[in-house]
């Protein structure tokens, strides 16, 4: 059993939990993920690690409530325990594994959208701690859906650019409009890391790649075991079939077939898609499983 030391709602439908998992906390790196199984009858849900504390032996997970399974996890409060949490899974961000002197020569543009804000955080924090220069653009629907503002202010300060789709807070517009502005100002970037909804990653990558910036995105497909056994998380990357759990979850955006991935995700994401799935998959589909954030 894995005890939850702290659970809180960051906004109406995003919750964050700090979980005691010493083995994972001991070795995880930004970019990696865990799989949580809340109780005996639950699904195995992949969730990106959004922070960790090696000394305290904890990892932080952040998830959006979309359907029954994510709702179930979100109902676990401080002091409760999950049946299982396994990790770290996937490859760490290359920023953290490439030779540090090479990485320090780079300026990185981080782009996070919606729930994708959470997995961007440990990467930004890692850059700050390791003396790597960066700017970070965070986009969200409106002021009420914004998460982790304080954390980003603390690590990124003046390099933190916030935008809301509806203009209810700070800048108004999509992340791409802020990216355009920063690039137009003449800021130089050697790498862009974009994490968020598939559609956001597709357009963020289009913007950065057009500016000649190599771009990495973090894919979040359906998974079951997460250790390279079931093949559910396969993606087409550069005409090759890759498995997000062992080859990813981060991939070179210029090689990702977003449309094929989106088609697969769309059905799990939209009400219409879920109704369609319910018809196709019958009573074993429970409508939204947390795979679709």
């Amino acid at each position: 059993m894995f005890k939850i030391l702290k659970a809180e709602m960051l906004c109406e439908n995003i919750c964050q939990q700090i979980v005691e998992a010493p083995r994972i906390a001991h070795s995880c790196l930004p970019g990696q993920f865990v799989i949580v199984r809340a109780d005996e009858t639950s699904e195995r849900i992949p969730l990106t690690i959004s922070d960790y504390d090696r000394e305290k032996g904890t990892v932080t997970i952040t998830l959006q409530i979309i359907g029954a399974s994510s709702m179930k996890i979100a109902q676990y409060k401080t002091g409760d325990s999950f049946a299982d949490i396994v990790g770290p899974l996937g490859k760490p961000s290359e920023l953290c594994t490439d030779p540090i002197e090479e990485v320090r020569k780079k300026r990185v543009l981080f782009v996070g959208g919606g729930l994708g804000t959470a997995p961007v955080y440990p990467q930004v924090k890692w850059c700050k701690e390791n003396g790597v220069e960066f700017d970070v653009v965070i986009g969200t629907k409106c002021k009420d859906t914004l998460i982790m503002e304080k954390e980003f202010e603390d690590v990124a300060g003046e390099h933190y650019f916030l935008t809301t789709d509806d203009g209810s807070y700070k800048h108004k517009g999509m992340v791409t409009s802020v990216m355009d502005e920063l690039i137009a100002e003449g800021r130089h970037y050697d790498l862009c890391v974009a994490i968020g909804p598939m559609i956001m990653m597709k357009f963020a990558a289009k913007t950065s790649l057009a500016a000649g910036i190599p771009t990495i995105v973090s894919m979040n497909p359906i998974m079951v075991d997460g250790t390279g056994m079931c093949g559910a998380c396969r993606l087409v990357v550069g005409d090759e079939v890759k498995f997000a759990c062992v080859d990813g979850p981060e991939f070179d955006a210029s090689k990702v077939d977003f449309d094929s991935a989106m088609k697969r995700m769309a059905l799990y994401k939209t009400e219409e898609g879920r109704a369609y799935l319910a018809a196709k998959e019958g009573d074993t589909h429970h409508g939204g499983c947390g795979h679709c954030s």
């Binding site: 001991h26 639950s42 699904e43 396994v86 250790t227 056994m229």
Partner: protein, 465 residues
């Protein structure tokens, strides 16, 4: 009432009626009862030079345990099997006996072989139902061995090492111990709570610790086990790896599964039960591509979830790699075999869902390197099967997690770990390996045999180091 025995024939085993079992997940084969087992045991000739033992990868003393069954000494029979096998209730159910022990049986020359597998199953089930537990009386060696993977190979290796007095910890990546016995083989062939869990518990009763939710090769590595965590040796029984796909158009369509995913959802995650959250496609018409045991498991699972199921295989019936018994059961249950046929494309509807599969007919040409006649496409013979689910069961390629994070561990051209057949020794000192991680996808019993050999190899190594 005494059972009349025809010495040329096996005492028939009771099974669920095909029509009934096609709609449930209960075990197909009901096994022998006491009278049937004792009657079958009388058919054994108790050969002095028992060829069946040589045919068994873990060398169970078959004539001796069968003689004990004949005498009604079932506890003794179970102890004899226990000397060689940690998982008899599993093996009695899933071993390919026809090509191993029973394939060697002298009775089989003129008639039917003795039903060794069903007798083993009877003994193991009797022992479990009567609370017979394995006995440990080994002196502690004071040395620690880590076993990676709790599948048949890892459980066997761990059990044997524990019996020799080693302090053994198994690390399992999934949340439940058992490996392919829990995620791969379906309930109707191998009941999980009734059979697998008690056998895992028996290994634990030998003193083996099992840590679930630990992925070796991520964070914790083989090197960190040997240095930081104080293990003296490691056995890698991490199993087969990523599923293969065909590389044909449409494989990314919704409704295309690997057999591993389909079976894991159903077996490990219990998607067939309403009280579990994991979803699974209950297709109306399912095409399973491939002809191995895993393909049969996937097909029969899909059938039980309510689908019409076709198995599409590119060679003919004679080449089907699945066990004859599995093919026979599948046919009885109503699985349709489309043989000498091969998919060329998966067709999608406007929402990206599978709507059909385009198939080309094949004919057998010259033998290939495997000795089997190579299937060749029949030009212009393409046709379409309408279906809503496609399950690819084409085997697996090794998981890179361990080989890519262990310095000095040699892998071969097929990316399998290179290990000595008799000792399990790898290119790295103190690291042993066996099972599918070494051979590629094979059988439960071969993996057990490798685990057994490696336990011996590890014991020899640790006795001299």
């Amino acid at each position: 009432m005494a059972i009349e025995v025809d010495v040329m024939k096996k005492v028939p085993v009771r099974e669920q009626e095909p029509k009934v079992r096609a709609t449930n997940f209960d075990e197909v084969c009901l096994g022998y009862n006491q009278e049937e087992a004792q009657a079958e045991a009388t058919r054994c000739l108790n050969c002095k030079n028992a060829r069946c033992v040589a045919g068994c990868p873990v060398s169970i003393n078959i004539p001796a345990f069968i003689a004990a069954v004949k005498d009604g000494e079932f506890k003794k029979a179970s102890e004899i099997i226990g000397e060689s096998s940690a998982l008899p209730a599993v093996c009695g159910r899933v071993c390919p006996q026809e090509s191993q022990c029973e394939g060697q049986c002298v009775r089989g020359i003129k008639g039917e072989a003795v039903s060794i597998g069903k007798l083993e199953r009877f003994v193991a089930d009797w022992a479990r139902e009567n609370g017979v537990k394995p006995v440990v009386n080994a002196e502690k060696k004071g040395k620690k061995v880590a076993v990676i993977g709790s599948g048949p190979s890892g459980l066997t290796c761990a059990g044997d090492l524990a019996k020799l007095g080693y302090d053994v910890t198994i690390f399992e990546a999934l949340h439940k111990a058992g490996g392919v016995l829990v995620y791969g083989i379906p309930e109707f062939r191998l009941p999980k709570d009734k059979v697998v869990q008690p056998e895992v518990d028996n290994v634990k009763a030998l003193g083996v610790k099992i840590e679930t939710d630990v992925v070796i090769g991520k964070g914790t590595t083989i090197d960190s086990l040997l240095t930081e965590e104080g293990f003296d040796a490691v056995y890698v029984g991490s199993g087969a790896g990523l599923p293969r796909f065909m590389g044909i158009p449409g494989e990314q369509a919704l409704g295309v599964y690997s057999a591993n995913e389909f079976l894991t959802r159903n077996n490990l995650m219990k998607a067939y039960r309403d009280d579990y959250d994991t979803p699974i496609a209950r297709g109306k018409k399912v095409v399973v591509v491939g002809g191995g045991n895993v393909a049969m498991d996937a097909a029969r699972t899909a059938l039980r979830l309510g689908a019409e199921v076709h198995v599409v295989y590119r060679r003919s019936e004679a080449e089907l790699p699945a066990r004859v018994e599995e093919v026979h059961h599948a046919k009885e249950e109503g699985i349709i075999f489309d043989l000498l046929q091969n998919p060329v494309e998966i067709l999608e509807d406007e929402n990206g869902w599978v709507r059909g599969i385009k198939i080309i007919k094949m004919e057998l040409g010259e033998p290939d390197e495997s000795g089997r006649r190579r299937p060749v496409e029949v030009e212009g013979s393409e046709y379409e099967i309408e279906c809503d689910t496609v399950i690819m069961s084409l085997g697996t390629s090794p998981n890179p997690l361990i080989s890519s994070t262990t310095k000095g561990l040699e892998i071969n051209r097929k990316k399998c770990i290179v290990a000595d057949e008799t000792t399990g020794a790898t290119s790295k000192e103190a690291v042993y390996a066996g099972g599918d991680a070494v051979t590629g996808a094979a059988t439960v019993i071969l993996a057990m045999g490798a685990g057994k050999a490696a336990a011996k190899g590890i014991d020899e190594f640790l006795s001299t180091h």
